[in-house]
């Protein structure tokens, strides 16, 4: 079991999460050339080693997070929310 330290819930089993994919993908503008879209949708660097990837805490807070993980050893180096500022924004909404 991989243990992922969710920024919102604390350390949880990876079985609570769904793997998203490569977190470095940037989708191009809607009117960008088809080559740019093919690159974003289909092409992957497929790193063996440390990569940034998205996970969805489906059976927890349901937030998307970005995990820096080694794909060979499964060691996790960092975890952060996928959307910057979401934590403080939510705190504000709750008040």
């Amino acid at each position: 079991m991989i243990r992922i330290n969710c920024p919102f819930c604390g350390e949880r089993d990876h079985a609570e999460f769904n793997y998203g994919g490569d977190a470095t993908i940037e989708y191009p503008a809607l009117d960008a050339p088809v080559e740019d879209w093919v690159q974003a949708v289909y092409e992957r660097e497929n790193i063996r080693g440390v990569q940034f990837e998205t996970w969805h805490h489906q059976f927890g807070c349901r937030m998307w997070i970005v995990v820096e993980r080694d794909t060979m050893t499964h060691e996790i180096h960092s975890v952060r929310p996928a959307h910057e500022g979401i934590g403080s924004a939510l705190k504000g909404a709750g008040q």
């Binding site: 079991m1 991989i2 793997y19 992957r44 660097e45 497929n46 063996r48 990569q51 996970w55 794909t71």
Partner: protein, 421 residues
């Protein structure tokens, strides 16, 4: 090389088994090869065999980082079937099944191919309709396929859980000519067959770089020296992206995921066929090996990984499927379990194609269907390498099919590699 036949078995039985040659040599590399194949797995070895046998190219090397057949060749569930529907895949896997049917004779090596039938359980009218369409397509294109009702299925496979109220079994889609084979024997048979024709299998030489000059590949740098080659062909499922980057490219439509499988302690004969259960995200397939072990597996681990070891949540998922579909094996103990790294492609179909470098060829993206595909993979890949043009059957299995809009997505799962099984 001593052929394997009844006379030689008899003769060596009387002479202390001293007349057998080793099955393949352990040669030093030659100064230059016509073709260098990277990866001595089933696909690489089959490619080398057919290059020599069908295309007369005998100055061929297969370079392997470990020992031959030590990767996914030994990390699968040995299932052979051709129940694919889409154009290209349909003909390709049918060709593969027809090659399997004569493989033992072809290689003079008993690959223990057993056409015991492949049974896909059906749990809803919609699944039955989809199976009818798929299996009718198969029958109309020269293959075999049957739909079994519940009475027939109960008679043929009595030990399934027919009282499962969550996923009641309604019947099955069956391919009688499908079955399984002995995985090691396939690797050893192709290796021996290729070696007999002069192919050099160079083990314990990890490729560390692919050398290029003036837009062409000149050979491969290995952990034990440079090997020069006129053509280089990649067949390294799981690590295709890494080799691709060694050749100077950036990205492939592939992610590497790991797939686990399991074998139990040996039992007396229990299951005569390959049985598959798949509903939503539950996926389970099981057969019984000739030694009696129940061989079974499920889905990939759902996250990208190059580690050749599995993780426990998937073990639990597979065990849950096992006891819900075949409760009688609930107390059987596991003997071994293993994990292999897969090229999961963006549409679930493979690549056998030329590359932007004229004398570099790619064989990749087999998802978890590579075992059954290996004879046809070698057949068509060797044809591509020898003749520098794709056979019409594999003409669609190119890297640019995504850009052209001609994806080959059997599941209709979309561009997410982990969803293609």
């Amino acid at each position: 090389m001593t052929r394997y036949n009844a006379w030689n078995v008899f003769k060596n039985g009387l002479t202390g088994q001293k007349g057998w040659d080793r099955a393949w040599r352990d040669p030093e590399p030659r100064s230059e090869y016509d073709v260098i194949i990277v990866g001595a797995g089933l696909h690489g070895l089959a490619t080398a065999y057919y290059l020599a046998k069908e295309h007369g190219l005998k100055n061929v090397a297969v370079v392997e980082k470990g020992w031959l057949g030590g990767g996914n060749a030994g990390r699968n569930t040995t299932i052979v079937r051709s129940n694919y529907m889409l154009p290209g895949n349909r003909q390709f896997y049918e060709k593969s099944l027809s090659l399997w049917e004569n493989l033992t004779n072809e290689l003079n090596y008993n690959v223990m191919f057993s056409q015991r039938a492949h049974i896909t359980l059906l749990h809803s009218p919609a699944a039955r309709d989809a199976a009818a369409r798929r299996y009718n397509t198969m029958r109309n294109t020269g293959s075999d396929g049957e739909l079994w009702d519940l009475a027939k299925l109960k008679k043929e496979v009595p030990h399934l859980n027919y009282n499962n109220s969550r996923f009641p079994i309604m019947g099955a889609a069956v391919q009688p000519r499908a079955g399984n084979a002995r995985h090691d024997a396939v690797a050893w048979g192709y290796a021996r067959g290729a070696d007999m024709q002069g192919v050099d299998i160079l083990q314990n030489r990890e490729v560390t770089a692919i050398k290029r000059e003036n837009g062409r590949v000149t050979g491969v740098e290995t952990s034990r020296g440079f090997i020069k080659g006129k053509k280089v062909a990649l067949a390294v499922a799981g690590n295709s992206s890494r080799l691709w980057q060694m050749a100077g490219f950036n990205t492939l439509p592939i992610e590497t995921h790991k797939l686990q499988a399991f074998v139990s302690e040996p039992l007396k004969p229990l299951l005569d066929q390959v049985v598959v259960f798949g509903v939503g995200h539950a996926h389970f397939y099981i057969s019984q090996s000739d030694k009696g072990g129940m061989v079974f597996g499920g889905d990939i681990d759902w996250y990208k990984s190059y580690a050749q070891r599995g993780n426990l949540p998937l073990v639990q998922d597979v065990a849950e499927c096992a006891v819900s579909m075949m409760p009688c094996i609930g107390r059987v103990r596991l003997l071994r379990h293993w994990s292999g790294v897969m090229d999961m492609s963006m549409d679930g179909s493979p690549f056998i194609c030329k590359t932007p470098i004229d004398n570099l060829y790619l064989n990749a993206g087999w998802n978890y269907g590579g075992f059954k595909a290996s004879p046809a993979s070698g057949w068509y890949f060797s044809d591509l390498i020898a003749n520098d043009r794709p056979d019409p059957v594999i003409a669609g299995h190119t890297l640019d099919r995504f850009q052209r809009g001609y994806i080959i997505d059997e599941r209709g799962a979309g561009p997410d590699p982990k969803l293609h099984g």
